[in-house]
């Protein structure tokens, strides 16, 4: 429990009744959650070790209601923590005692799909998978696919600029977003972008994406939808060393091949996943790659042949090219169950740094050393093509001090990612989890420029105020 929260503003806490009454005048009674029991469902998110009970929770149904709520909070100096589905792994949606939670989950409709222009306009509380489901009957999909896609909302995806396993080919949220309806803190509703590409003026859409709920609340989004490939099939390779696996990744990309997914698992991850999913993974290898390509059968065959030829000089101990849907499903089953399977054998925290892929072997060896030095274990599963690591640092909550050790190890790993030229977070966001590490990646001037931009939208630090920027040294203009 090492992450600090700001002291709640006592004056605001004292006004709780008045604030709740004020909100009650703006939305229907069922949209306002006041009782402690019901508020408890909103006191944390995917970073469950931390929780704070909010003043109240409000779940509006329209952009107009969001506007009225924000205007009210602005006028009454009440802090607001925006929330999608609450799946953030970095604590992006964790409230604080003197803040209300503004959840967009009720606003979950598809407003319009234009297959010819390949766009969909949706309310921001729709789930990521919900968008794909709404367009799949025409063979289309929404490309970014975070692991939480069943539950997470597009609002949260925009706030975190979420990625997924397929971004090597399709990009992340910011590359698939065309427009938003954004409600500013004073209640002003603005349209940014639209059904066309590249909005005029400053790239406000690019700024909003990944701003972690600090600049406004997105109530609608226009996203690109893509026609799905005819098919996809993976190959699996097991290597006797981390170095061979890393060199194979570099060789595939160096040969001009961009697989739609290129996933890496280390030995502990393979063993944990195999025990859980019985995917047929090799247990005698140090590292494993899953490399998936897309297209027609003949394109896939051609591409997988090339990839096998590239992999051979690295002496893979196992090489399995999927020949059927069933084999593909088996190969993916293990990888996709990685987080759940690890959760069965230990408590864990999931890190999210990105590194230059050339540093892969060095960083993996160092991660191993770091985690061992704290007397803990680690399993590594990650997107190898783009260097986005997900070390799962394992610990036992019931052993006093172990969680703190895991957090410390995680911190050391993230510092290492920055040291080798990478960054603190590739797709999960900063939230509270990495807030106090921002100074390893950015100097004071870098952070000041970011805070000045933040200040244009929220000079009083009312929107998701405990996040992203270290609590010390804050300013607005």
């Amino acid at each position: 429990m090492t992450i600090a929260f700001p002291q709640p503003d006592k004056a605001v806490l004292a006004r709780r009744r008045e604030i709740v009454e004020g909100l009650g005048r703006l939305v229907a009674s069922e949209a306002l959650i006041v009782s402690e029991d019901e508020r408890r469902a909103f006191e944390t998110d995917g970073l469950t070790a931390y929780r704070r009970m909010p003043l109240a929770v409000v779940l509006p149904s329209t952009t107009e209601e969001v506007s009225a709520i924000l205007r009210f909070c602005h006028e009454n100096r009440v802090k607001v923590v925006p929330r999608g589905a609450g799946t953030s792994l970095c604590g992006g949606a964790i409230p604080q005692e003197d803040a209300i939670v503004l959840g967009v989950a009720k606003m979950n409709r598809v407003l319009n799909v234009d297959f010819e222009a390949r766009t969909a306009r949706v309310q921001s509380g729709i789930t990521n998978l919900g968008i794909s489901q709404a367009v799949s009957h025409e063979g289309f999909f929404y490309a970014p696919d975070p692991s939480s896609q069943l539950a997470c909302t597009i609002a949260g995806n925009i706030a975190m600029n979420s990625g997924g396993a397929h971004c090597l080919k399709y990009g992340v949220t910011t590359n698939n977003l065309l427009g938003v309806t954004l409600v500013l803190l004073d209640g002003t509703v603005v349209e940014i972008g639209g059904e066309h590409l590249d909005a005029p003026g400053y790239d406000l859409l690019g700024l909003i994406c990944g701003s972690e709920g600090q600049l406004g609340v997105v109530t609608e989004a226009v996203v690109r939808i893509l026609r799905a490939a005819e098919g996809a099939r993976p190959a699996l390779f097991g290597f006797s060393s981390v170095e061979d696996a890393g060199a194979c990744v570099a060789a595939i990309i160096g040969a001009g091949i961009i697989p739609v997914a290129l996933e890496y698992m280390d030995k502990p991850a393979i063993q944990i996943c195999e025990a859980f999913a019985h995917a047929g993974y090799p247990l005698d290898v140090e590292a494993m790659l899953i490399c998936e390509v897309e297209g027609s059968d003949q394109e896939i065959d051609d591409m997988l042949r090339r990839i096998v030829a590239i992999a051979e000089p690295f002496r893979p101990k196992t090489m399995k090219v999927s020949q059927s849907e069933a084999e593909s499903a088996a190969i993916w089953k293990g990888r996709k169950s990685a987080f759940g399977a690890t959760g069965r054998v230990a408590d864990y925290i999931c890190m999210d740094g990105t590194i230059p892929t050339g540093q892969l072997p060095y960083v993996l060896n160092r991660i191993d050393e770091i985690v061992k030095s704290y007397g803990l274990g680690v399993a590594n599963v990650f997107h190898a093509g783009d260097g986005n690591l997900h070390p799962l640092v394992m610990f036992n909550t019931n052993v006093p001090g172990e969680m703190e050790k895991a957090e410390k190890a995680g911190e050391d790993i993230l510092r290492l990612c920055v040291e080798v030229g990478g960054c603190l977070t590739g797709e999960h966001g900063v939230g509270i989890e990495k807030r106090d590490l921002m100074t390893c990646q950015f100097n004071a001037t870098d952070l000041e420029q970011q805070m000045r931009v933040r200040g244009v939208f929220d000079p009083g630090w009312l929107l998701n105020p405990a996040k992203v920027f270290p609590l010390e040294g804050r300013f607005a203009a």
């Binding site: 990625g163 003026g201 701003s211 003949q298 590194i355 960054c423 870098d446 970011q450």
Partner: protein, 398 residues
């Protein structure tokens, strides 16, 4: 600009920082430029001096296996492209070369590609320059050196100032170094050419192609001068066997549009270059050129409305989502008609080429609602409180 106004060419970031800090102290307005090949674009502005990236050259990092390249902002774009090509790679977004359209000479810089978010036909598949721009270093209007993003392609650490710098036309900071994600150059390129379609039929064909699973990387329509037909171009890129397969499927899918040819090799490359660089409209002498972005399916309606009131010539890129329109330079060069059309059909229009008097008199960029302009002015002030960097180049007060 005053003829003999001082021209600063900093040799490094620190130099740039000193120059800009001094200008901020004195209130010296700076024209921010590379090699000036796009100086006849944007709103003409009055400045006291200029600062150019031409002294900041050189590739600072290139890791082909990591698909990343960094260069100082004044590095010639052609040098970056040459270095990438030597390793079989390229900038995914196919940046346009404005020199033919604007009648300028010199070396376009990689910094300008970032600062103006310059893309080409592959934008529909691979994104714009802003989508590949993953890191920047710049000096803001206070003379402070700031970095955002980095050299890794997945990075959500902090506010994305990289996006703000991309397409800000030098009004927020003086870029010193830019980092782009790159991609392998494809083994083979083939173009399906359909002849004789009018605008609506052409956009229908392009929409079908873009809505197919065949990864179309270029979708343009060039009407004939008599407007009775034209060439509709659909480009595929990839490994040989894959392009063969997809081309066959595409032809089958589009068979009701008869008159089809397949174009490959130098001729096809030249054709796409003419789409990219808008040279299809450069031979039209002294005419204004507009760049209009709209929803692809609304392109033909927007053009039809414009053509009712103006003597216009045009062609489509991005499956109909980008329309290049040339208009006579009389009066407002068609600004009021174009803006009425973008209001009616959605999207935005930029006056890319016109005499300075016209660019001073009309809005060069699509006017924005008050709330967005207020945010834009706030953002400008947060980077450049003295308002000395390219003031007014995009919008008044920005």
């Amino acid at each position: 600009m005053i003829v003999d106004s001082p021209r600063h060419t900093p040799r490094d970031e620190q130099d740039a920082s000193v120059i800009i800090r001094e200008a901020a102290d004195k209130g010296t307005l700076l024209n921010v430029a590379g090699n000036g090949t796009k100086s006849p674009m944007g709103r003409p502005n009055q400045t006291d001096a200029s600062i150019s990236s031409s002294g900041l050259t050189g590739i600072t990092l290139y890791e082909p296996a990591e698909l990343v390249i960094s260069a100082r902002s004044g590095t010639p774009l052609l040098e970056v492209m040459r270095v990438l090509a030597a390793k079989g790679q390229e900038l995914p977004f196919e940046p346009m070369d404005y020199r033919a359209l604007l009648g300028t000479k010199g070396d376009p810089t990689i910094g300008a590609v970032a600062a103006m978010n310059i893309s080409g036909p592959r934008r529909i598949m691979a994104g714009a320059a802003r989508d590949s721009l993953i890191g920047v270093r710049f000096v803001n209007g206070r003379g402070e050196t700031v970095k955002s993003g980095g050299r890794v392609m997945k990075n959500v650490t902090g506010l994305d100032l990289v996006k703000l710098m991309g397409g800000s036309w030098g009004t927020l900071g003086f870029l010193t170094e830019v980092t782009f994600k790159v991609l392998p150059k494809q083994e083979r390129m083939a173009t399906l050419v359909i002849r004789g379609l009018d605008d609506r039929q052409a956009i229908e064909a392009l929409s079908m192609a873009l809505g197919s699973p065949f990864d179309v990387t270029g979708a343009a329509h060039v009407p004939d001068r008599d407007r009775r037909g034209g060439n509709t171009l659909i480009r595929l890129e990839g490994f040989r066997i894959s392009v063969d397969y997809r081309m066959n499927e595409l032809k089958r899918m589009l068979r009701r549009f008869r008159f089809m040819d397949i174009l490959e090799g130098v001729g096809a490359e030249a054709l796409w270059q003419s789409v990219r660089d808008v040279t299809l409209l450069t031979d039209q002498g002294n005419r204004a050129v507009w760049r209009v972005s709209t929803a692809p399916t609304r392109g033909p309606d927007l053009v039809a409305q414009v053509a009712q009131s103006l003597d216009a010539q045009w062609f489509y890129d991005w499956g109909g989502g980008l329309v290049w329109i040339s208009t006579p330079v009389d009066g407002d060069a068609g600004a009021s008609v174009l803006r009425e059309a973008t209001r009616a059909f959605g999207g935005h229009a930029t006056l890319v080429r016109a005499p300075a008097e016209i660019r001073s008199a009309v809005d060069v960029f699509e006017p924005q609602p008050d709330a967005l302009m207020t945010l834009s002015r706030g953002i400008k002030a947060s980077f450049d409180p003295a308002g000395i960097l390219n003031p007014g180049r995009m919008y008044a007060g920005v």
